[in-house]
């Protein structure tokens, strides 16, 4: 008899096998992180229930059980290894096992060279991820599967990690997308994550077996895998217990049950974990803290029977909806704070109905709405004003502290911080998609540990040793919390530690502050998360300052909106807001359709509210609304794309030569095009990127943390191969042209050497003549000879003289291209100057003009009636200067120079585009910020990835415009 235990991140499994390896006992339970108690309990139970179990050979598996096993005298078996043993025993002939667990995703290739893959440290797409998404959709986990089965359409949802997906799903919910479609899209995201993140170029084929909780319980998830892989996998009986069975099969020795149970019960880990100072030493300290904070309050008045003029403010946030009714003195007549439950329209409607029910004769003078759902709510209910969140919060904060210097708002999903300078918003910090240590993060943890959020955070107030959890994203945090628990941290310590980590995340990741002086002395904190005393205390401790937290910290957006509407309406006129009658006639219908007006073909969600009022979401430009194409004359990004299209293939004696249109090719194409055209090749390039093209190469990406522009290259090369191109040219370039702006002129390692990755990971390149040789375009003198040496290996008939001529032409062509870009740039700038328009320098890399990479951000910004130029247009306008960093990459030197130039002009602003995972930008962003801020310019950064939520981008741009207007 053999006994196997499997301790996963959320559940514990126990099996007993008889002499013929037949399963005679099994159990599957959640452990709520009470791992040791649960092990002891299970061992005891099995011993009592199964005859002869006390003599069984025992082994334990599962990541969460590693330390316990070692210290308590049970043999440990690595879980993937255990799975493999079980699969080989129970289903011989299995080729691939796909196993999803609570926090792990694994693929095992059993035949043709054993390989095992586990998700890395930055990876979602697991059970916990689906859990989180179910919470977000506000449906029980069990219903996800049924919902998904009813899908009609799917959306693209980021599959990298839970936090990303959340930022994609939330707007979809706010825009009224159907939950069933979202559920299916979530499943697809999981599949995509598993396949892209783990397969790493190896094809998943043959007999496939699905294991683990999510794949066992959700048949639709299995269907999604089947569809993507083009096969039919099986989910065997006992699919939940394979790891436990594998452990049992590997078991080699019996245990002394009494001794082991005793040891497990007394197990306390090492007791060593890093911890911080307690939040409060005594009850008295806490009480005086509460007293101090109770002073910042808004007076409450009765809504019922109120006769004066009223102002309504609403904040349709990402996870919560807030509404307030104020009298003309700014006092609170009524307020509501509700979870958005994925449909802000319904919640706002209920809120307004309630208000009208309490006071049917309410004289609404004006109204305003802010937040993620601003557009849809404004359309649905004819709200008077829509304002950007930053302005709403600033307006509210000023009410409590007229000379406020810094506002920090931590909401359900966002962190918003702004510096106030001379009474205007001067600098805005928003959390990037990855560093989401916000309210919903605490909530998720509280729930996972079996607590409500309020109860949970209170636990931490008097914790003796708050765990030091750092300031990382949720995925990392999960494991850190578990580790701390194993090391003996109490639930109190963890609660306090999580509150601290929220604060550290905001301070060090979002604001990047190192001392309180940087924020100023007058700080207002707000947002629902700060209503949590532990978080508030942690913030004050970390920064060493006392701050103001209004008693309506969670309502500040709505409160600010109401104040704003009051100011704007100047006390006269009547609000256009839907009245009680309008609410009774209110209808809300949702239709999903494709736009089809341009090649983006955005998926649109069309909301109709009756009376012809319509709200369209999902669009990247105004075209589906106005039916007019956006003006392109003042957009450098658009111009560059069009310019590239002018390099048309010319038939040549030496046949076709394909160039993948990605990374540095966006700028060097003219060079290589001319070079090879002169050498009598017909030079063609892969099409501009789109989603489909990306997916074509997705399976062959070896590193899931490399930047998205690099990942796209796989799709480009695959497309060229699929189109039958037999020679593909994608050179390695350590160095770029020397533009004499910096100390050196490197390409970044990824741009320089990505051809190596393509060659080593894409199996189909073997079918073609793939040229990834090293070239030195930075040395025009040596280039022809060296290029000739390289090329003659592939094309023995090419002569040195031919190469010389071609090289000369190529350098000229590149010069010409640059001149065209410069000329157009100057034209845009002149025109903008003439028309008095703002000029935005959208500073990034050449490949950021790829619409699949920039997600139409350029068009979105152009929609605000500003001119857009790229960094290279203005970088040549300054002389070389010394930077605070080693200025050694050609593309990045342009950023510093552009920033420097922008500081000399009142009519220019700089927005930096940063690709997620770009290591180099960890250096450039700080430097660009410093250059701008030194001259009191606002620094705006937009982080972009596979999928980018344009809603957040919009907030940034609007805030920036509002801030400039205030000047």
């Amino acid at each position: 008899m053999r006994l196997g235990l499997d301790i996963g991140s959320t559940t514990i499994k126990c099996v007993v096998l008889d002499e013929d390896n037949k399963l005679i006992y099994s159990t599957y339970e959640r452990h709520y992180s009470q791992i040791t108690d649960k092990i002891a309990e299970l061992l005891d139970r099995v011993r009592r229930e199964i005859d002869g179990a006390d003599k069984a050979l025992v082994a334990l598996s599962g990541s969460a059980g590693m330390g316990v096993a070692q210290d308590c005298g049970i043999d440990f078996v690595q879980e993937v290894y255990a799975t493999r043993v079980a699969a080989n025993t129970f289903i011989p002939g299995t080729d691939v096992v796909i196993e999803l667990g609570g926090e792990d995703a694994k693929i095992l290739f059993l035949t043709n060279g054993l390989e095992v893959r586990m998700n890395g440290t930055c990876a979602g797409g697991t059970g916990a991820f689906i859990d989180q998404m179910a919470t977000l959709l506000n449906v029980p986990l069990e219903e996800m599967d049924d919902l998904a089965k009813q899908y009609e359409k799917t959306y693209t949802i980021a599959s990298r990690c839970g936090v990303f997906a959340k930022t994609d799903i939330q707007p979809l919910l706010n825009q009224g997308a159907r939950k069933s479609d979202i559920a299916e899209s979530i499943f697809n995201a999981v599949v995509s994550q598993t396949v892209a993140g783990l397969a790493q170029g190896r094809e998943i084929e043959g007999q496939i077996v699905y294991l683990g909780g999510p794949l066992t319980f959700m048949s639709e998830l299995r269907n999604c895998f089947d569809r993507t892989l083009g096969t039919k996998g099986i989910c065997p009986e006992n699919s939940l217990y394979y790891v436990a069975c594998g452990a049992a099969l590997c078991a080699e020795q019996p245990i002394d049950f009494d001794a082991v149970i005793e040891a497990v019960k007394n197990y306390h880990g090492s007791g060593n974990f890093a911890f911080n100072q307690p939040l409060f030493i005594s009850k008295g300290e806490y009480e005086s803290f509460c007293l101090r904070h109770s002073k910042a309050d808004v007076k409450q008045k009765e809504l019922k029977g109120y006769k004066g003029r009223a102002y309504i403010g609403m904040d349709a946030g990402s996870t919560t909806v807030k509404g307030v009714v104020l009298n003309s003195d700014g006092e609170m007549l009524y307020s509501k704070y509700l979870p958005s439950k994925g449909n802000p329209v319904e919640i706002i409607k209920a809120f307004l109905e309630e208000v009208y029910a309490i006071n049917p004769d309410l004289d609404v003078a004006s109204s305003a709405v802010t937040g993620y759902g601003e557009d849809i709510i404004r359309n649905a209910f004819d709200v008077d004003y829509g304002i950007v969140e930053t302005i709403a919060h600033f307006t509210a904060a000023k009410y409590f502290m007229p000379d406020v210097e810094f506002i920090i708002d931590i909401g359900g999903q966002d962190i918003k911080c702004f510096k106030i300078h001379n009474g205007a918003i001067d600098n805005i910090f928003l959390n990037e998609a990855c560093s989401s240590g916000c309210g919903s993060f605490l909530q998720t943890f509280a729930n996972a540990l079996g607590y409500g959020i309020e109860e949970f955070s209170k636990l931490g107030l008097f914790a003796k040793r708050p765990v030091d959890l750092g300031s990382r994203c949720t995925v990392f945090m999960n494991s850190s919390v578990k580790q701390a628990q194993k090391d003996g941290a109490t639930i109190e310590d963890i609660s306090a530690g999580l509150s601290l980590s929220v604060v550290k995340n905001a301070l060090y990741k979002v604001i990047r502050a190192s001392s309180p002086d940087e924020l100023g002395k007058k700080i207002v904190v707000q947002g629902g998360t700060f209503l949590n005393d532990a978080v508030l205390r942690a913030f004050e401790m970390e920064m060493g300052v006392e701050v103001v937290r209004p008693n309506i910290a969670g309502l500040m957006g709505a409160y600010g909106a109401a104040l704003y509407s009051m100011k704007k309406s100047k006390g006269t006129g009547r609000s256009s807001l839907a009245d009680a009658q309008a609410l009774r006639d209110f209808v809300h219908e949702i239709k999903v359709t494709n736009c089809g007006l341009c090649n983006n073909n955005c998926r649109l969600t069309v909301n109709s509210f009756g009376g012809g009022r319509k709200f369209i979401a999902g669009n990247r430009c105004e075209r589906p609304i106005t039916k007019k194409a956006p003006a392109t004359g003042m957009n450098m990004y658009e111009y560059k794309l069009r310019l590239l299209e002018t390099y048309r293939p010319v038939e040549g004696l030496r046949g076709k030569l394909g160039i993948p249109m990605g990374l540095n090719m966006f700028e060097l194409y003219p060079f290589w095009y001319r070079f090879f055209t002169e050498l009598k090749f017909e030079v063609v390039h892969s099409p501009f990127s789109n989603r489909k093209l990306y997916q074509r190469g997705q399976q062959t990406i070896p590193s899931d943390t490399v930047c998205f522009p690099a990942k796209l290259m796989h799709g480009h090369v695959q497309t060229l191969i699929d189109e039958g191109i037999e020679t593909i040219f994608y050179p390695c370039l350590s160095y770029n042209f020397d533009e004499h702006l910096g100390d050196n002129h490197y390409n970044c390692p990824v741009v320089a050497y990505y051809p190596e990755v393509i060659r080593n990971n894409m199996k189909d390149v073997k079918k073609v003549n793939f040229i990834k040789e090293y070239f030195g375009i930075h040395r025009p003198k040596d280039f022809p000879k060296k290029a000739y040496e390289r090329l003659s290996f592939y094309f023995p008939d090419i002569t040195l003289n031919e190469v010389r001529v071609a090289a000369k032409k190529a350098y000229e062509e590149q010069e010409l291209y640059r001149a065209k870009v410069q000329a157009k740039g100057e034209e845009i700038i002149r025109k903008a100057e003439h028309e008095g328009k703002k000029i935005f320098v959208l500073a990034g890399r050449p490949y950021h003009i790829d619409p699949e990479i920039n997600h139409g951000i350029d068009k979105l910004i152009a929609g605000f009636d500003v001119a857009i130029v790229s960094e290279d247009v203005v970088s040549s306008r300054v002389d070389r200067f010394h930077t605070g960093v080693l200025n050694q990459w050609t593309y990045h030197s342009r950023l510093y120079a552009a920033a420097k130039y922008v500081t000399t002009r009142k009519d220019m602003e700089l927005i930096q585009l940063v690709s997620f995972g770009c290591g180099v930008d960890a250096i450039t962003t700080d430097e660009v910020r410093e250059i701008l801020e030194e001259k009191n310019k606002i620094y705006t950064q937009i982080k972009i990835d596979e999928i980018t939520n344009l809603g957040a981008v919009k907030i940034r741009i609007r805030s920036l415009l509002a801030a400039i207007d205030n000047d």
Partner: protein, 436 residues
Amino acid sequence: MADLKYDKKTGRLLFTKQMKREYTILMPNMAPIHFKMLKNVFVHYGYKAELLETTGPEIAQTGLKYVHNDTCYPALLVIGQFIHALQSGKYDVHKTALMITQTGGGCRASNYIFLLRKALKKAGFEFVPVISLSFGMEKNPGFSLSIPLIRRFVGGLVYGDQLMLLANQIKPYEVNKGETMALVNTWSDRLADMLIEGKGYTLEEIDETLHKLTKDFSKIPVNRVPKVKVGIVGEIYVKYSKMANNGLEDFLAEQDCEVCVPGLMGFASFKVDNRIEDYKMFGGNRLKYEFCKALLDYVTKLETLMVEAAKRFNFVPPHQYAHTKELVKGVIGYGSKMGEGWLLTAEMIELADTGYENIVCTQPFGCLPNHINGKGAIRKIKEIRPNANIVTIDYDPGAPKVNQENRIKLMLAVGREELQKKLAAEGEKKEDKADA
């Protein structure tokens, strides 16, 4: 406190001659055996050098506070450790300078020194001078790398590599626990003393010392039972530094493995060779090319001495650069030079060839060159060396040790299985022979 002088062109704070006399220079301790000797070379030249031995979570925390959080982990640790030291009160901050390496390559590492200066400014230590340990990237009146100094330096690398190599091959099998490390300590003290006196760096001296040293180690009684053999490669700091890799070598020792960590000499040769390859590939300054060739020849001579000494006493000799380089042909081009470049890939192939086919490839989370030469090359390596059993591990301040160890354990489980198979096959062979 010395007068603060600044470079006229860049405004950089200089390390002056006066500072050389009065200041203590703090150095990070990447690889303990090596750096102790390197430090003493500086001491011999009249610098007051001190290695930072601090560890603990405060270091990463300090780094996170003063450095952009998306910067690579080694930068966070090294800078965190410096600032932590300056804040500790242990040093007179007005009589302290910092030293950091700068390779000038195309990865982010060349920028550490600037990030360090930014961090110093943020922390209020802008008066602390930073010395760049590099070939002519930043010059300081009070600090120079002379040829004799470099020779002594290289001598230190040779000894460090050999000590590390021998210790790794003996320690897992030693009969008397602790004997190997005791000998490592004895020898590294002896070598360090030698270097402080300015001795032990000529070819003859090195040859003689390597012989004695290797002989001494060969006398340690061992019990050679078959063990899983694991090679460690990766980003250079994370690969060597215990603080960065969560005590990887100790963990592998606990798991009853023999470890092989390719030495620093290979990396040094690689960096010199890059300049030679650049010249061949793109053209350039002939003089520099000749100089680098001479330097590489010298390093190769030293390498040969190490190999011969190891062979003489039946140890697995260290990798020879020229051979390692040969192995990577057709896998990755020699132009891929940023960070550890193609050397990382080559080392994995060589480890697989020399019996260390179980490999941990370490990298800081988001390490750019590693996308190419580590993770990006593994598929190809598995294709040409099917026996290679590689696991890649990301290190950063938030990556929990337990996840890292779990992944390594998976690699080890497969390694053990292969070892059993191999032993069984050998057993059968022996039986067959006996039958015959």
